[in-house]
C-alpha cells in the first residue's frame, strides 16, 4: 500500500472544516446542546423538589389496629412538603378491604393508610387510595410506616409515647459519600454527575456528527462530486479527510464549551456548580480531578469519534438515499446507544463487575471508560488495556470502512448484500 498524501487529506480536512464551521448548524448545536443539557440535568431535580406539579394535596386517613392506637401516626408522616396531610380515623383495619373501600368513598379522605395488627411484627401495611399516588409520596408513606413500627416496638419496651414520637420526629439528614482517591477526597455524587454530563456530551456528539458524516458522504455520492474527487484523490484519503475535518469541527465546539465553562467558573459561577446546586448537590469544598477527567474525555472522544465516524462513513457510502441511510444507520447507532444506557445504571454502581467488563469492549469503551475514570474506579491496567483495544479496533475499522467506502462510494442502485460487502473488504 503506497503512502497517502497528507497534502490532499489536508485539503479535504480544510474544506470540511471551513464549510461546517461557517454553517448555521454549527451555531445552533454549539449553543443548543449546552442549553439542552442544562435543562435535562436540572429538570428532574427541579420537578422532584417542587410540590408535585398539578397534583392536589393528599389527605390520608390512618386506619390503625388497636395495638397501634398509642402511636402518634399522623405525627410520623413527614409529608407537608409533598402535600400530604394525615388524621386518625375510627375505622377498624380488620373490617376488610371492601368495607374500607366503601367507607373511603363516603369519607372526605383521599386515601386510607391501613395499619393492621400484624404490622408491628413485620406484616404489610396497605394504602387504599382513590387515585394514583406519586413515587415521592409513596416513599414518604413507606418511611412513615417504618417509623410507626419502630415507635410501636419502643413503646412496647416501656418508653413513654411522647418521648418516642419526639425521638422519631428528628430532622431528616442527607448522606454525603466521599471517596478516598489519588486526587484527595471527592464527592461521589459530584463525580457521578460529571460522569453523566460527559457521557451525554459524548453520546450527542457521536450521534449528531455521525449523521453529519452520513449526509456528507451521501451528498458527494448522489451529486457525483465523488467522481471528480476520486479522479484527484484516493477514496481512503477522501474518507480520512472527511472524518478528521468533521472531528476538528466537533473539537472546536467542545473547545468553545470548555472555554465558556472556564470563564464562568472564574467568576465563581461554574456551569456544573449551578447545575449541581440546583439538583441539590453541594459541590463546594471538594476537589475534582479536572485534569485527569479532561484528558480521559479528550482521548476517548477522539478515538471514539474516529471509530464511529468511520463506520458512519462506510454507511454513507453504502446507501443510495436518506431512507436506506436510516436503516443502515441503526446498527452503528446501537454501538453508541447501548453504552450510553449502560452508563446511566453504571454510574450508580461504578464498581460493578459488569461495568468493568463492558468498558473493555472497544465499541463501548469511549463512553463507559469515561464513566469509570471519572468516578475514579478504573484501574490503570484497565485504562491502558482499553486504550490499546480501542486504538487497534479503530485502526481495523478505519481500514475496513475504507475498503467498503471506496467501492460503495462509486456504486449506484441497490444496496449491497452482506456477502458482497465482505468480498469488497477481502479483495477490494
Amino acid at each position: 500500500m503506497s503512502r497517502l498524501s497528507l497534502a490532499r487529506i489536508g485539503a479535504i480536512v480544510r474544506r470540511e472544516y471551513a464549510f461546517r464551521v461557517k454553517n448555521k448548524w454549527f451555531l445552533i448545536t454549539t449553543f443548543g446542546l449546552p442549553l439542552l443539557m442544562v435543562a435535562l440535568s436540572i429538570a428532574p431535580a427541579w420537578l422532584a423538589s417542587r410540590k408535585p406539579g398539578g397534583e392536589s394535596t393528599l389527605s390520608v386517613g390512618v386506619v390503625a389496629a388497636a395495638s397501634l392506637r398509642d402511636v402518634d401516626v399522623p405525627g410520623l408522616i413527614v409529608g407537608d412538603s409533598l402535600g400530604i396531610s394525615a388524621r386518625m380515623t375510627d375505622e377498624d383495619p380488620s373490617a376488610g378491604t371492601d368495607r374500607l373501600a366503601a367507607d373511603l368513598e363516603a369519607s372526605e379522605f383521599d386515601a386510607f393508610l391501613v395499619l393492621g395488627d400484624t404490622v408491628a411484627r413485620g406484616g404489610e401495611a396497605v394504602l387504599l387510595s382513590r387515585s394514583a399516588v406519586s413515587d415521592v409520596r409513596r416513599r414518604a408513606l413507606r418511611s412513615a410506616v417504618r417509623s410507626v413500627v419502630t415507635a410501636s416496638r419502643l413503646q412496647d419496651a416501656g418508653l413513654p409515647a411522647d418521648q418516642v414520637s419526639r425521638a422519631l420526629r428528628a430532622p431528616t439528614t442527607g448522606l454525603s459519600v466521599e471517596r478516598i482517591g489519588q486526587g484527595g477526597v471527592a464527592h461521589q455524587d459530584v463525580l457521578a454527575g460529571i460522569a453523566i454530563a460527559l457521557c451525554f456530551v459524548l453520546y450527542m456528539m457521536f450521534i449528531i456528527y455521525g449523521q453529519v458524516i452520513v449526509r456528507g458522504v451521501l451528498e458527494e455520492k448522489t451529486s457525483d462530486i465523488v467522481e471528480v474527487l476520486i479522479s484527484s484523490v484516493r477514496p481512503s484519503e477522501l474518507m480520512l479527510g472527511k472524518v478528521v475535518g468533521i472531528e476538528a469541527v466537533s473539537l472546536t465546539q467542545i473547545g468553545i464549551w470548555a472555554v465558556t465553562i472556564g470563564l464562568l467558573s472564574l467568576y465563581g459561577l461554574s456551569g456544573a456548580a449551578v447545575a449541581f446546586s440546583e439538583a441539590g448537590i453541594d459541590i463546594g469544598g471538594f476537589s475534582v480531578p479536572i485534569l485527569k477527567i479532561g484528558a480521559a474525555f479528550l482521548v476517548f472522544f477522539v478515538l471514539g469519534f474516529t471509530l464511529y465516524a468511520s463506520c458512519f462513513a462506510a454507511v454513507g457510502a453504502l446507501v443510495g438515499d436518506d431512507q436506506q441511510a436510516q436503516q443502515m444507520n441503526f446498527p452503528v447507532m446501537l454501538l453508541i446507544i447501548v453504552p450510553f444506557v449502560l452508563a446511566f445504571s453504571g454510574v450508580n454502581t461504578p464498581d460493578a463487575g459488569w461495568l468493568a467488563a463492558a468498558s473493555l469492549f472497544p465499541f463501548f469503551s469511549p463512553i463507559l471508560m469515561v464513566v469509570r475514570i471519572t468516578t475514579g474506579v478504573a484501574a490503570a491496567w484497565e485504562v491502558v488495556t482499553s486504550l490499546v483495544l480501542v486504538v487497534l479496533t479503530t485502526l481495523g475499522v478505519v481500514w475496513i470502512a475504507g475498503r467498503i467506502y471506496r467501492v460503495g462510494i462509486l456504486m449506484k442502485g441497490k444496496r449491497p448484500t452482506l456477502p458482497e460487502m465482505i468480498r469488497w473488504v477481502r479483495y477490494g
Partner: protein, 321 residues
C-alpha cells in the same frame, strides 16, 4: 503507437450480466482531439472511468503516458464528469481553489488562477456566490474551469456540451480548441456526433460495447469511398422513381430532400430534376457525415441501446482500484 497519451489494449468490463465494454483497443495520440462517440449506454463513460482508474478493467490494460495510472499522473489529468460534480452550497471561488489544490496546485496560485479564469468565462462577479445560485450553464463553466486550473496535459471530458445553451456550447468549444492549440491532449465523449465532427481530428465510435470505427476523421470519411448527392426541391418526386433512384426522402418545410448514394453521375440527377420541372432549392455532392457512417456501421443495433441509460448504473460488481 509510440507517442500515445492514452492506450487501451483489449480492455473489457462487465457489470453482472451486462457487458459494458468488450475487448476495446484505443490509442489517443498526444496532442490530438479525440472523440469517443456512441449512443447513451454504449460504454463511453465506463471506458473513461477505466482510463481514470475510477473503475478497474476486468481484462486488458490501460496506460496513460506510457504507464499505469498513479498519483503523480492523476495530477496531470483534468476530468469533467458527465453528471456535474460540484458542491451546491460552496462558494464558486472556494470550490475552484479546492479542486486545484487537490491536484497539487499551491493554494495562493490556485486562487490567482481561479480568479483569472472566472474573469475569462464572464463569471468574475459570481466568484463569491454559492454554486446553487448559478444557472446550469454557469455551473458547467465553473466545472470546466475546475477541470483545467491545474493545467493538465490530458483533458478528459464526458459529454461536456450536454444540457447547455448554444452560446455556452460555443464558448466551451472555443476553450477546448484553445487548449488543443496549446498542446493538451483532449479526449471527449459525446452522443452528439456533429460536435465530434466539428472538433475532433480523430474519433472512435462504440456501440453495444464494441468499437465500430476508429481513426482520423478524414480517413474514416475517405474509407467509405462514397459520396452522397443531396437534392432539395419543391414538386413531384416521382421523377426519381422513374429514374430508378432509391434513397431517403425527407420533408424540409416546403421542400423535399432526397439523399442519393453512389447510384449514378450527379449531373444525370440534376438534369432529370430540371427536365421534370421541379424547382431545385439545393444541389450538393458531399462526403457522408460521421452520423451516416456510424448508422451504417452500427446499424439499428447501435441505436437500440439508446434508452437504456448508463451501463455503469448496474454498479461495479468487479474490483475497483
Amino acid at each position: 503507437m509510440q507517442d500515445a497519451a492514452i492506450q487501451l489494449t483489449g480492455v473489457s468490463k462487465t457489470f453482472g450480466s451486462t457487458t459494458a465494454v468488450r475487448d476495446l483497443d484505443l490509442a489517443v495520440p498526444k496532442g490530438s482531439i479525440y472523440g469517443l462517440l456512441g449512443p447513451n449506454g454504449a460504454g463511453k463513460t465506463t471506458t473513461i472511468r477505466m482510463i481514470l482508474d475510477i473503475l478497474g478493467p476486468d481484462g486488458g490494460t490501460v496506460e496513460v503516458l506510457g504507464r499505469r495510472i498513479d498519483d503523480e499522473l492523476r495530477t496531470r489529468i483534468g476530468y469533467l464528469p458527465e453528471e456535474r460534480g460540484l458542491y451546491q452550497r460552496m462558494k464558486v471561488i472556494d470550490q475552484l481553489v479546492f479542486l486545484a489544490v487537490l491536484k497539487g496546485v499551491p493554494r495562493a496560485e490556485a486562487r490567482r488562477r481561479a480568479a483569472a479564469w472566472l474573469e475569462r468565462v464572464d463569471l468574475a462577479d459570481r466568484a463569491e456566490a454559492q454554486l446553487e445560485e448559478l444557472s446550469k450553464g454557469m455551473q458547467q463553466k465553473v466545472q470546466f474551469v475546475g477541470t483545467i486550473l491545474h493545467d493538465p496535459e490530458i483533458l478528459i471530458l464526458d459529454e461536456p456540451f450536454s444540457g447547455l445553451d448554444p452560446i455556452n456550447v460555443d464558448l466551451l468549444k472555443r476553450l477546448v480548441l484553445e487548449r488543443h492549440e496549446e498542446g493538451t491532449t483532449i479526449l471527449f465523449s459525446t452522443h452528439m456526433i456533429e460536435d465530434a465532427e466539428q472538433l475532433c481530428d480523430r474519433v472512435c465510435m462504440i456501440a453495444g460495447a464494441r468499437k465500430v470505427l476508429d481513426g482520423r476523421v478524414s480517413e474514416v470519411k475517405a474509407s467509405t469511398g462514397r459520396r452522397d448527392v443531396i437534392l432539395r426541391f419543391e414538386g413531384d418526386p416521382s421523377f426519381l422513381d422513374d429514374a430508378g433512384f432509391r434513397g431517403e426522402l425527407e420533408r424540409h418545410g416546403e421542400y423535399l430532400e432526397a439523399k442519393l448514394s453512389d447510384h449514378a453521375d450527379p449531373r444525370d440527377i440534376l438534369r432529370r430534376a430540371i427536365m421534370a420541372g421541379v424547382q431545385v432549392e439545393l444541389f450538393e455532392v458531399r462526403e457522408p457525415t460521421l452520423r451516416e457512417i456510424f448508422l451504417e456501421r452500427a446499424g439499428s443495433k447501435g441505436l437500440e441501446v439508446e434508452p437504456g441509460g448508463s451501463a455503469a448504473a448496474a454498479g461495479p460488481a468487479g474490483r475497483v482500484r
